[in-house]
Structure formats: C-alpha cells, structure tokens
C-alpha cells in the first residue's frame, strides 16, 4: 500500500472517530493523531502524488515542496499544541472539529490543483464555524453565521474563478498566476477574504473573539495563514499586494488601542501581522518570500501562545475585558510569564522569533527601494509592540488590581504554553536552523550590532511612549464598548436598507391588494345591479330573457352577413 495519500486524511479521519472513544483512550488519541500525521508528513517524498482524472483535468491531491512542507509542519505543531491545550476539556465536539479543521487546512496547503484546494477550502470553513458555535451563546451563533457566509462566499469565488481559469488555461494546476483575467481576479479576492484584506477583514474581529478559550487558539492558526500560503503560491510578486499589506499592517493597530476585549485586540494585531506577510509576498523576491513564510511560521506560534494565555484568563476569570482585569500576575504568574514571552516575540525583541522573521521582510523592502513601505512597516512594528506587546500583558496581568484571585491555569494549558514559548525563544536564538526550513536558500544575518541596537531603541521608546501617556493620563482608558468597523455596513446599514425595502414592498403589495379588491367589488356590484330581483335582467321570466338573447344573436348574425358584402 502506498503511503503517498494526503496527510489531511489522518487528521480528518482522526477527528471523525474521536467521538467514539471516551476517557483516557480519547486523550491518548488527542496526542497521537497529530504525531502520526507529523511522521507521515516527514516521510512523504517531494513531488506530486495522488493524481487522478476528473472531467478531463488531472488533479493532484498532494504536492510536496519546500513551501507546502513548512506550512504543513507548523500547522501540525499548532494542532499538537492545541490538543494539549484542550486536554482538560470534555467537549469532544471542539476537539473533533479542531482536528478536521487542521486536517482540511493541511489538505489545502498540499493541494496541487484548484479543485482539491476548493474542497479543502470549504471544509475549513465548515469545520471552523463549529469552533465558534461551541461557545453556545446567542452572540456566538450569530457571529458564526456571519463568519460562515463570508467563508462560503470566498469558496464560491474560488470555484467560479477556477472554472474561468481552467477554461482559459486548459489546466487546473494551482500555480503562479497573474491578475490579467477575470477568473484570476476572483481567485485573488477569494484568497483576500481568507487573508483578511482591508474591508474584507471583518469576519476575523467579529467571530474569533466569540469562540471558546480553546476554539480561538485553533482559529487563530489556520484560516488566515492558509490565505497567506495561497497568496504566496499564486501571487508572489504581485505589486498591488505591497500596498494592500501596508494598509493591513497599519489600520488595525488604531483599533487595537481602543478595543476593550483583549482577545479582540489580539485579532487586530493578527491582522496587522498578516499585513507584513502580504507585503513580503507582494515584493516577491526570494528574500521577501522567505520573510513572509518565516513570519507566518513564527507568527502562528507566538499568536497561539498569546491566545492561549488569554484563553487561560477567560477560563479562570470568565472575562477578558481589559476594563475588568488587572493584577492577575499574583494569581497566574506562569500564564503571565508565558504571555510576556509571546508579547516579546510578536514585538520582535532580539532573541525572540519575531525578530529573526520580520527582519527578512523589512530588509527585502529596503533592498527593493520601497522606503515608504519600510517606514510604514516600522511604524506598524512600533505600534504592534505598543498594543499587543504592552497592552495585552499590562491590562490583563498588571495595571490596577481588579481583586480577582483565581487558580493558576490548568497544567495542560501551562505545558502547551511552555512548548510554544520554548519554540519562540528557540527560533529567536538559533535563526540559522530555522532558516533552513524556508523555501529558498538564505544568506541573512539578523544579529548585527546595528540591527539589534536600532530594534532595541525602537522598542524601548515605544514602551516609553506608552508609559509616558499612561502617567500623563492621555492614554485612553479601557471602556466597555463596541467599535464600529466595516461590519457596520452589513450589520446596520444594509440591514436597515433591506428592512426599508421590505417595508416598501409590503406597502406596494397592500396597495395593489386594495385596488384589486376594490375592482372586484365594483364588478360584483355591477352584476348585482342588473341581476338583483328588481334588476333589468332579472325582472322578466327566463323565457323572455332567452328571446332577448336570441334576438341579439340574430341581429349580430345579420350585421356580420352585411359586413361581408361591404368588405
């Protein structure tokens, strides 16, 4: 039997059989399924596998090369960490959905053609929405519904685009494309939805923070990075991505500063980090693509770590609103410690993963003379430290003491966080080992004295700005609120428009009914006038009536007869 089947099947099948086990057997499966999948991925030889014919096209369900491999590895590491993080939970629905979700994301990454990509693309949408609904609240249900509609639409765009593309190209292979035909533009938008491009982004901030403490960790890993992978595969070097990425890297950080729900703050910084990757893909040089991929890899781990720490807070305290929290370092010192490691990594402190990954993109931007983009990214780097690096740990674990005294996070959560934290530091300390995984050969040295010094200056002065604004009282306080984003357009504006339209339609319908009714009664009245007991046609005996009609008929016959001669 050949082992060259998609690794995705192991996870999806594992996820589907998980509910049939219980107790410690299920817990064992939780750990072993990702491990088996990882081993399978390691022994999968590079090249195209699992080819089959479908309506005249050749599909290849497994394409193993360096780009797909690195995404596969990090997705599996994340799935493994998720399994440990969810160890304490008895909610098999979430555990099962996480495996199916991770499996379908991996399936999509290894897809060699657009049809296979589409199938796994939709499967990620369906399996991930279960994680949102698993919160089992009305808000989560509605938010999940909006999320599902957006993602199914993205899949539909991908399918329609693929059909157009295959007609014009005669091939369905998922490879580098250029934005000069309608089919490709549709595919580009589909990828854009998944990667949370500006104005297509709101599902991310709407749905992720509504999920459970376990669900959000899994959600933060797969969908968006699948979008990034797809862009790297299909649209490397597409110049418009540089502009899109720069906007993505900046605008969410303004929202992050004023957002109260700390997990939502993390989704804004997630969006901002995706911006860096999109810029890297847009630049398209080997260094830039390496940077985007390295950043995606590092990002998955430190973002998981940050979401895990906030998940632990949610699990123990029951809220992650900045306005309610504070002083938790006293009750949850280890969680606070791991959160700070995640924060240092996302902020790209030297010796942490963000530093060695983000530098590649920044340098690539300068090598291609994108000075303005570089300045924007530098601002975004300072901003991400400001809101994710400082704000998250500060408001959750320090700031004023909220009086919450709870237990430290469960052991399994701490273990998952410690592994993620170790990898974050490991990548930061041994960049050359990490660079070996990247798609192209790397000759880049992140630890030069000027680079380390400049980065430390940037970060320390961003921290000083935060401290200065805090002490002078300029910093906006955490308030219970919602901030309108582009979702306002469909949640309020379009909704009201639809309701108004509906109202008009109903009014028109009522008027039409009224008129018809009036007409009908008018007709009835007319008939009644002539046929009522005293009416013209009811006054005589039926025989007399009949004579009248016969006379009329003969008269008309006569007229027609004469007309015949007249013509």
């Amino acid at each position: 039997m050949t082992l060259n089947f998609p690794t995705a099947f192991i996870l999806i099948l594992g996820g589907l059989i998980l509910p049939f086990f219980s107790g410690s057997l299920r817990k064992l499966c939780l750990i072993f399924i990702p491990v088996i999948a990882f081993v399978h991925l390691l022994i999968l030889p590079t090249g195209l596998h699992g080819e089959l014919q479908f309506i005249g096209y050749t599909l290849s369900s497994v394409r193993v090369d360096k780009l797909s491999q690195i995404f596969g590895y990090v997705f599996l590491i994340a799935a493994f960490l998720n399994a440990i993080y969810a160890w304490h939970s008895d909610d098999v629905l979430q555990q099962s959905a996480t495996f199916v979700y991770a499996g379908s994301a991996i399936g999509a990454v290894f897809a060699g053609d657009l049809i296979t990509l589409f199938i796994f693309w939709e499967l990620t949408a369906i399996s991930s929405v279960i994680l949102i609904w698993a919160r089992r609240t009305d808000r989560a249900y509605k938010s999940g519904m909006r999320y599902l509609i957006t993602h199914i639409l993205s899949g539909m765009l991908l399918l329609i685009g693929a059909i157009f593309y295959s007609k014009s190209q005669g091939s369905i292979e998922f490879t580098s494309m250029s934005l000069d035909q309608p089919g490709v533009i549709l595919i580009f938008i589909a990828f854009g939805v998944k990667s949370a491009f500006p104005l297509l982004h709101n599902w991310l901030h709407d749905a992720y923070p509504e999920s459970t403490e376990i669900g959000t960790v899994a959600l933060s890993v797969f969908s968006t990075k699948l979008g990034i992978y797809a862009l790297a595969r299909g649209f490397a070097g597409t110049e418009i991505l540089i502009f899109i990425g720069a906007v993505m890297a900046t605008f969410p950080i303004f929202y992050a500063v004023i957002e109260n729900d700390l997990r939502r703050v993390l989704t804004y910084s997630l969006n901002n980090q995706l911006g860096f990757m999109v810029v890297g893909i847009g630049i398209g040089t080997e260094l830039a693509i390496n940077g985007a991929v390295a950043h995606a890899f590092a990002h998955i781990l430190y973002k998981s770590l940050l979401f895990m720490s906030m998940g632990a807070v949610l699990f123990r305290v029951g809220t992650v609103n900045g306005s309610d929290l504070g002083g938790l370092y006293k009750s949850m010192p280890w969680t606070a410690f791991f959160c700070i490691i995640g924060a240092a990594s996302i902020s790209a402190f030297p010796l942490f993963s963000g530093f060695v990954a983000k530098s590649l993109i920044m340098s690539a931007a300068l090598y291609q003379d994108h000075v303005l983009v570089w300045l924007v990214l530098l601002f975004a780097s300072a901003g991400v430290f400001h809101h994710a690096g400082i704000k998250i740990p500060f408001f959750a674990f320090f700031a004023h003491d909220s009086g919450f005294r709870c237990k430290e996070a469960p052991l399994n959560m701490l273990i998952a966080m410690s592994i993620a934290a170790t990898i974050c530091v490991g990548i930061g300390c041994f960049p050359n080992l990490f660079y070996m995984l990247l798609p192209y050969p790397v000759s880049y040295e992140p630890y030069t004295s000027s680079h380390v010094l400049s980065q430390l200056q940037l970060l320390v002065f961003s921290a000083l700005a935060f401290a200065f604004l805090m002490r002078t009282g300029v910093y906006p306080p955490e308030l219970k609120s919602v901030n309108l984003d582009s979702d306002w357009l469909y949640r309020v504006f379009l909704k009201n428009l639809t309701l108004k339209f509906q109202q008009h339609i109903f009014q028109l319908y009522d008027q039409a009914c009224h008129k018809l009714k009036g007409g009908f009664w008018g007709l009835c009245k007319k008939i009644h006038r002539h046929h009522q007991p005293t009416g013209l046609l009811a006054r005589n005996w039926p025989t007399s009536n009949m004579v009248l009609w016969v006379a009329l008929m003969l008269a008309s016959y006569l007229i027609i007869y004469f007309l015949q001669f007249a013509v």
């Binding site: 808000r139 950080i253 303004f254 929202y255 500063v257 004023i258 002083g327 370092y329 006293k330 340098s363 300068l366 090598y367 000075v371 570089w374 530098l378 601002f379 300072a382 901003g383 400001h386 320090f398 003491d401 009086g403 919450f404 005294r405 709870c406 030069t448 004295s449 000027s450 010094l453 400049s454 980065q455 430390l456 200056q457 940037l458 970060l459 320390v460 002065f461 961003s462 921290a463 000083l464 700005a465 935060f466 401290a467 200065f468 604004l469 002490r471 300029v474 910093y475 906006p476 308030l479 219970k480 609120s481 919602v482 901030n483 309108l484 984003d485 949640r491 309020v492």
Partner: protein, 91 residues
C-alpha cells in the same frame, strides 16, 4: 462575587513589590535611563543602514516615541467616531 471580595481582602493584607507607587516610579525612571543609554549607544556603534536617513542620531528612538504618541492620539479621535454602547448591535 464572594471570591472577588475574598481577593480584595487578601489584596489589603498582602502587598506585592509592584503595589507600591514609588516602585512603579522606579521602573519608569529605569526605563528612561535604559532608553537614553541605548540612544547614546549610537556614539559607540556606528549603525550601518540601507536607508541612509536612519543612520541619523537617535532616529529609531524618535520614530518609535513619536509614532506611538501619534498612534494613541489618532486612536482617541477614532474612538470618538466609532465607539458605541456595548449592546449597540443587540438592540
């Protein structure tokens, strides 16, 4: 709720190092000292930059500080425009 009251009681009883205001000030001053030392580092290490303007003395410190202040000030204006009640979408 009971847990929280208990917590507040413990809080009054047990004082941590960070609970004292003067210690916070110490950290604040320490951070400024660190910042100034790092800027002075420009005299020791000549930073080689691909973007020449960035070689200017104190470029990154100024960029980080001013950038973040602008970020917060703009965010405050943004808040005036986009902030709504918590149950805005539910009503």
């Amino acid at each position: 709720m009971l847990e929280r009251i208990k917590g507040i009681l413990i809080m009054i009883k047990k004082k941590y190092w960070l609970d004292k205001k003067e210690n916070i000030t110490k950290i604040y001053i320490g951070l400024w000292t660190l910042g100034i030392l790092l800027i002075l580092g420009d005299f020791v290490i000549h930073r080689h930059e691909d973007y020449k303007t960035a070689e200017m003395f104190g470029f990154y410190g100024a960029y980080g500080f001013v950038g973040c202040v602008i970020l917060v000030l703009v965010a405050k204006v943004l808040r005036k425009i986009v902030m709504r009640n918590e149950d805005y979408y539910d009503t």
